[in-house]
Amino acid sequence: MARSIEEILEQLRARVPGRVPGGPRGPRRPNPLNRASRFLAKFRFLFMPVGLFALIAVGVHAAADTLDDRILWVVDHVDAAFDALFGRWSATESWVHAIDLEDRTTIARAFALVWELLADLVLALPAFGYREATDRPVRGISAVLGTSRRRWRDIFRDVVRRPTVLRVTRPLATAAVVIAGACAIGRMVQGAVYLSQREWLGDAASGLLARLLALAALCGVLAAFGMRAVLRNLQHADEAATGTPGLRYVQIAAKGIPGSAVVIPLAIAALIDASPIWTFFR
């Protein structure tokens, strides 16, 4: 007579060390990796915001680094106009030498740095407001991002029905710089793995390993932080949009224009010049 499923399961359970057959299920001994993971999970509230901040900062720099040539072009033109204006009068003609060729490049670099820091302020700093989900069971987006004062469904509904500059630009800009950041991290991993392992593994094996690990890093970083960064910035934009009661819709919609003017060019540069995802497959 065929044994019942329950009997088979019971036999299998009996093979678990330390368990008395027929008795209550014995304590499962989690492997060290799981134990370490559970221990680390207790500190997610500490390291997750740091990871989010770091990824966005890397992406913002990758984008800013592609813009500095264009900033130099603008600085050159502004300086030429300045020189043409103040070089006309003897009282002000010494101002022409106030900015030398060397200074122009320094100014362009300083602009790029200030631009990057401002973008960090706008996009990366809200990451520190990231809160982990509480112990109560949560599902859907809340399980990914934690809880929000407003329900996510309401936030998404407002993005569609009551779009504002903040609600539209911040998540999109964050998505762009996060992709650029993940690419920069993947590139660093690929270079570091290839050049450190080539001597041991040979050219082909280290090349393959480096590519796989770079792709793993790219996907891993995006999986761990990509969506969280975008949603956290959406949450922050929503808080800013709904934070001041009594404002008219036009006022709310126009909020955050200066910040968006800072991050939109960087986001475009991040997508066009700093996100060569396809190269990881070549």
Binding site: L33, N34, A36, S37, F39, L40, A41, K42, R44, F47, M48, G51, F53, A54, L55, A57, V58, H61, A64, D65, D68, D69, I71, L72, W73, D76, H77, A80, A84, F86, G87, R88, W89, S90, E93, V96, L101, T105, T106, A108, R109, A112, L113, E116, L117, D120, A184, I185, R187, M188, Q190, G191, Y194, L195, R198, A217, G220, V221, A224, F225
Partner: protein, 346 residues
Amino acid sequence: MFARRTRGLFEFLMTLLCLWAALYHTPMGAFVRRGMAKVFGVRTSARPLLAYFSGGATPHPGDRVLVVPEPPAFVGQSAITPALALGLGLKAALHQLPEDRRRPVQDLARLSGLDPAKLWDGTEGAATSATLLARTAERLGSEDAAVLAIFAGLEPARYAADRCRAEGMDAPTLEALARHLPPGFEDAVGEASDALAFGTAYGLAWPVPERTPVTSGFGVRIHPILGTKRLHTGVDLGIPAGSAVRVTADGVVRRASEDGVNGRVLIIDHGRGVTTAYCHNSVLLVQVGDVVRRGQVIARSGNTGRSTGPHLHYQLELHDQPVDPFAFRSHRASGTPGVVSVRGSD
């Protein structure tokens, strides 16, 4: 994607990865690393904050001072080939290379069938360097990658060149190559950047006929109009108004403007951190963004701006630092710092 019990470890590892990248890839990270190095009293490879942006020039670590090499003892400037010019630049940079950083170039020289000692040789150094560069460029398919290989090693340069090719760049610049190198290669990139700048400067032609008198040399002098002591950042070449001013190397016009001091001025970007400026012209023949070819007439000389007479103020800058153009030529002309003729100066 990950089971709940392994998520903590996964996310922690990803956080570490992001932090590592942020520390080595951003100016903010450099600031933190410099701070930590100061606290713990250790050396750091973190560059100054502004050095994290190229700003149109080849990256050059800001805390390394560009040392202009001694003028070369070779003759026949007009006959110098671009390859020999680059060889001279490489030789000049190699002479500034500390002993403990010479291994990559020595290994590469042996691999290329050359005697490494000859790279530092006074007479054969430039030619040996040029041969080494040519052979390495043949391996890597790019001159910039070859120069990088000499300072960083063949494999890192080959890897960076391959990655640039994967991005669709056939002749990658040093700046593009450097983006693919992991932390630890900052010094090598700086040294390669110097070599390329020197090499490009050695290959420059002269903007006016060779025998044109120098009315004021490069260096600190009493300004002929202001009467104050200040650095003359270029050389003044006494030529009649309306003479042809020729660009000294291929490049892109970065600035074409007019002001009361420089007059009608052109600034040409030759790449690899080399820029030349031509001031006091009467007519500018090119516009911003124009691509110019070595020897092309780009302006007619004149006496515009703050000037005592018709002349051309020719200025050479390496990594945005004004240098004496005669340091990269076979012979010094009559002009010396501090000596200013009455006419044709600024």
